[in-house]
């Protein structure tokens, strides 16, 4: 009951979760929701009708079913890449921030390099060689996302590490691992959560962009892939807006949901108010 209350109190969080939730549910219950199997071929370029709510694509597959099933791949890639990237970023960030010294330099050097290199071109370059499987895409996206998290976590860790109670725990002989696990990690978690949500959004967009360019996995359906086919297989020039409008809309709404959730984390306290109280 408490969670529900908290949720409704924060409108931003509420809408974010609702928006995202719609698509998560769509992904989970896809077989129940979609009227057809999105892979069966049929008559191409049909306009929306009672039979096919959003018409059919260039090989006759039902677009609405495609849309529903695409939530799976798009969200899956988004969440898994973000998870991988966040895990890696947190591990590196904590380790580097804790150990300092040459290890810190090397790790942050690597992070800097990946930060400077623009994500999409790098992803393109790697994917072109690695081939269009889902796991390749996930790996490549995770590779471009980890430095952002790592840097931020590292800064936070450095700040926390210099704080009193960590120092006293260390003096009392706590092992390094214990220090990281028990003391540093819990304080870093809010930041990690925010970064994770951001990473999901970025990963989602990256996957969509890659698929749009033709680097997606043709054995899977994702919103980006739908847009790719809509653009390159005649949906665009024939102005079949029921084909290219919905997938983009779904992506937009997912990103919005994620952004709302992220913003609700930041909106916690009014910094000016805190200062007034501190006076």
């Amino acid at each position: 009951m408490n969670i529900l209350k908290k949720l409704t109190a924060n409108k931003l969080l509420f809408f974010g979760v609702v928006l995202l939730g719609i698509f998560v549910l769509s992904a989970v219950f896809a077989p129940l929701i979609s009227p057809h199997d999105p892979w069966t071929y049929g008559q191409a370029f049909l306009h929306p009708s009672a039979q096919h709510l959003l018409g059919t694509n260039d090989v006759g597959q039902d677009i609405f079913s495609e849309l529903v099933y695409s939530a799976r791949v798009s969200l899956w890639v988004g969440f898994v890449s973000a998870s991988l990237a966040t895990l890696l970023g947190v591990a590196v960030g904590i380790w580097a921030g804790f150990r300092r010294g040459w290890l810190d330099n090397v790790l942050m050097g690597m992070a800097d390099i990946f930060l400077v290199i623009p994500a999409l071109p790098l992803v393109i370059l790697l994917s072109v060689y690695l081939g269009p499987s889902i796991w390749n895409i996930i790996l490549v996206i995770a590779l471009t996302l980890w430095p952002g998290t790592a840097r931020v976590i590292r800064s936070q860790v450095i700040t926390i590490r210099q704080s009193g109670y960590v120092e006293s725990a260390r003096i009392m002989g706590a092992s390094e691992f214990r220090l990281m696990w028990r003391h540093v990690l819990p304080n870093v978690l809010p930041l990690v959560a925010a970064k994770f949500i951001l990473a999901v959004a970025v990963a989602l967009l990256l996957e969509a962009s890659m698929s749009f360019l033709g680097l997606g996995d043709p054995s899977q359906k994702s919103w980006g892939m739908m847009l790719h086919y809509a653009f390159s297989r005649g949906g665009f020039v024939q102005n079949l807006y029921w084909w290219y409008l919905p997938p983009g809309l779904c992506i937009t709404l997912c990103i919005l949901g994620l952004t709302f959730i992220n913003m609700s984390f930041e909106d916690r306290t009014d910094p000016r108010l805190q200062r007034i109280l501190d006076r």
């Binding site: 400077v116 623009p118 790098l122 690695l130 980006g224 983009g248 937009t252």
Partner: protein, 324 residues
């Protein structure tokens, strides 16, 4: 000693850092085709290159694949600096030529977009941050957030469809209708440029807006702004002399650092508008698996982004006297 991205670091240190990044990128470019799965000759030449099984041995020797790695790398570097970036079988021209030509068209879109986008974001962010939580702010923020959430190429598609296909106000893509010169050519170019420029400006502004707004909000909470009000300064003066001035440095930095992201977005938008820039080049190269072309594009893009970052550092030092 700490290699930490901080604008106060010395210029030499900065140059060194960027050189290292450049070398790493070049090394990446060199290594990737050679370590990736598949036939190394094909990985290097691309799938458009036609050769038979007998040619493989000869080609391997020609590409230096039998030489030790460091020597290969040396040759590769030498090639890069002498302008030999490989041959594109797709366009039937040297990679550097193909890439260079397309880069120009991309710059034609990107540079005005950066300036316009920064202006738009700067003003909108200033107003939204200052009049925080008012209907104006909520309106602006919602609008830009929506734009930020939309995939760039999707907006491009929608705009193209609506303004071009349905309303006929703008051409359907490409750069020019051909056969024009002088002023007519220029005007025609602008007409073709309008929609893609609009899209790119919008989504750049969307990203920068959120940053600018946050910057302005945090500046508004600073003591010196309170002091400025205590001095009885007019609202306009505070807004422009203090708030705007102090938010310039972060804005400029963000603009330059996000150049990479901007570039990626431009690539996608170009594809939709058939604009003959890097985007179209990469799109076609991917389709044809013309690896040398993709590599060349990657290298050029990475260099551009590095240059943008260096510019950001230089500008930041000028704008914030504390780092001088």
């Amino acid at each position: 000693m700490q290699r930490h991205y901080h604008p106060a670091a010395s210029f030499l240190g900065k140059a060194l850092r960027y050189s290292i990044v450049l070398i790493v990128i070049i090394a990446l470019n060199f290594l990737i085709p050679r370590v990736m799965p598949g036939d190394p000759v094909k990985n290097i030449l691309g799938e458009q290159a036609y050769y038979t099984a007998e040619d493989v041995a000869a080609l391997s020797a020609e590409l230096g694949l039998d030489k030790p790695v460091y020597q290969q790398f040396g040759d590769y570097l030498g090639g890069l600096f002498s302008g030999d970036w490989g041959y594109s079988y797709l366009y039937m021209q040297p990679v550097l030529e193909a890439v260079g030509g397309h880069l120009l068209w991309t710059l034609v879109l990107i540079l005005p977009a950066i300036i316009l986008g920064a202006l738009l974001a700067g003003l909108a962010g200033l107003v939204a941050g200052y009049f925080r939580k008012t209907p104006l702010d909520i309106g602006l923020t919602s609008g830009f957030m929506l734009v930020y959430a939309m995939p760039h190429y999707w907006i491009a598609m929608l705009m193209l469809m609506f303004f071009s296909f349905n309303l006929g106000w703008f051409p359907m893509g490409k750069v020019t209708t051909g056969g024009l010169s002088g002023f007519a050519y220029f005007a025609d170019l602008l007409w073709h440029m309008a929609l893609p420029l609009l899209v790119i400006t919008l989504f750049k502004a969307a990203y920068d807006f959120l940053i600018m707004r946050n910057t302005v909000i945090s500046i508004c909470g600073e003591d010196y702004i309170l002091m400025a009000r205590a001095k009885g300064l007019s609202r306009g003066r505070i807004l422009f002399k203090h708030i705007l001035r102090n938010s310039l440095a972060p804005l400029v930095t963000v603009t330059a650092i996000q150049f990479g992201m901007l570039f990626s977005g431009v690539l996608l938008v170009e594809t939709v508008f058939s604009w003959p820039g890097m985007g179209t080049l990469i799109y076609e190269a991917i389709g044809a698996r013309d690896y040398p072309l993709i590599q060349g594009a990657f290298l050029i893009i990475a260099v551009c982004v590095l240059l943008a970052n260096m510019t950001a550092d230089l500008l930041y030092r000028r704008l914030d006297p504390r780092t001088a």
